[in-house]
């Protein structure tokens, strides 16, 4: 009897352990043979996670000055920047630096005399303007490799924040000597070596060199600093409701614990005559 029980216990423990392992492994696999990512600390992780306004604002600067020339952010609207500490006039000013297609004017024209599409100044209600008019244009101007939209990059890669940071800081002129590469590895022309990109050859040239932006708050713009800031910005861009979600979560779960406690007390009371 004792043996049977302990075997049963062991088996069920193994089963649940294996289940956890199984679900975890699906995530790891999707990395597609990339090396392990160095783990970073992020203010937005954990139960009390929140965005560091300064970090995210610096990240916006890096995105607008560096990334935005190739990468869109099509699901984020300029008005959303209100969430990370910009006031209405600042948001309007940022939007006003960009132009969006204006569509037919009162005379039904869609293009001006020189054949260019009619444009208007972007408004806070517009979404971030993509650098290329369509995917074919993006491919044609980038040697066939379409720079992906960054709106959801943080959620579209396993361990998104660590991945973006590692990728941005993982460029080398030459593969490092001690780097474990497949024997038939050969660098292709026009690609750059990156320690963390799956396959280690990436079409994106190193985007950050340090001092690519002059931070409004005077922070020194090292590569690591810029990579960190833009990662935080992209995390916000992908999950703008993260703070709301985590704040609400604490309240909901505390409430549920109280409610469940009351249900349990009622259950004990009602069942008292049965035990």
């Amino acid at each position: 009897m004792m043996v049977a029980t302990s075997v049963k216990r062991w088996l069920s423990a193994a089963a649940f352990g294996a289940l956890a392992l199984g679900t975890a492994s699906t995530g790891v696999m999707a990395a597609g043979g990339a090396v392990d990512l160095p783990e970073q600390e992020w203010s937005f992780e954990g139960i009390f996670g929140h965005f560091d306004r300064g970090e995210v604002q610096r990240g916006l600067q890096v995105y607008l000055n560096v990334c935005a020339s190739c990468h869109g952010l099509q699901y984020v609207a300029y008005r959303d920047l209100g969430d990370i500490g910009y006031d209405e006039d600042q948001v309007k000013a940022i939007a006003a630096q960009y132009e969006v297609p204006a569509g037919p004017n009162q005379d039904g024209e869609t293009h001006d005399a020189d054949g260019y599409p009619l444009m208007r100044t972007a408004l806070p209600s517009d979404r971030f303007v993509s650098p290329f008019p369509n995917e074919n244009a993006a491919a044609a101007m980038n040697g066939g490799a379409v720079p992906p939209d960054l709106s959801l990059m943080y959620k579209a890669r396993p361990n998104g924040a660590d991945y973006i940071y590692a990728l941005l800081t993982g460029y080398y002129d030459e593969p490092p000597e001690d780097f474990d590469l497949p024997e038939d590895f050969e660098m292709m022309a026009g690609l750059s070596f990156n320690a963390y990109f799956p396959g280690h050859q990436i079409a994106m040239a190193p985007p950050l060199y340090g001092d690519d932006v002059e931070y409004a708050d005077g922070t020194e713009a090292t590569i690591e600093q810029e990579a960190r800031d833009v990662t935080a910005f992209l995390a916000w861009a992908a999950e703008p409701n993260l703070e709301r979600r985590k704040n609400m979560g604490i309240k909901v779960i505390l409430f549920l614990i109280v409610m469940t406690g009351l249900f349990y007390a009622s259950k004990r009371k009602i069942w008292r005559d049965q035990h």
Partner: protein, 170 residues
């Protein structure tokens, strides 16, 4: 069994449990209701800025605002005089023309007939203003109802002049 004396004694524990469960249910239902309220992208379009500089005297433009047409007309002096000369007691919905404009010559109003929601046509009707073809309501040069089934004047949206030639509606 002492707690169970015929169900006459209300038990604090059960009341507390029921109350907490009730609050929880209501809190859970609220997001399902609130999701039908205007979303953030809809609210972002709740204001529209219009550049008036290209509208010449005697011309009207129609802009979309909150999914409805807004008529913006640069009125001629005759239209303004005609509107202001009309005695209030001839009006179904008495309102002076001055109360309906922020700055001459601009008349800005929501182009939805107050009868059943059709869009009136401009430069038409018995009063040189707007005419609703659906059920024959006539509006004057100030957009006030003069004849026909509509009960009220064409409504004036909230708007401000950001500078001499730009207004923000909403």
């Amino acid at each position: 069994m002492a707690d169970d004396d015929g169900g006459s004694r209300r038990d604090f524990l059960y009341i507390a449990t029921g109350a907490v469960a009730g609050v929880g249910t209501l809190a859970a239902v609220w997001p399902l209701i609130d999701q039908m309220n205007p979303s953030k992208d809809v609210l972002a379009l709740a204001t529209t800025e219009v550049d008036l500089s290209s509208i010449e005297e005697g011309q009207s433009v129609t802009v979309m605002w909150r999914g409805k047409p807004v008529f913006i007309r640069a009125r001629t002096p005759q239209e303004i005089d005609e509107a202001r000369a009309t005695p209030l007691d001839q009006l179904k919905d008495p309102q002076s023309d001055q109360d309906r404009v922020v700055k001459d010559p601009w008349l800005v109003m929501v182009g939805v007939c107050t009868h059943l929601g059709c869009v009136p046509v401009g430069d038409d009707g018995d009063y040189d203003g707007w005419y609703c073809p659906c059920h024959g309501s006539h509006y004057d040069t100030s957009g006030r109802i003069r004849k026909g089934p509509a009960p009220e004047n064409l409504p004036i949206p909230e708007y401000v002049f950001l500078d001499d030639t730009t207004i923000r509606i909403g």
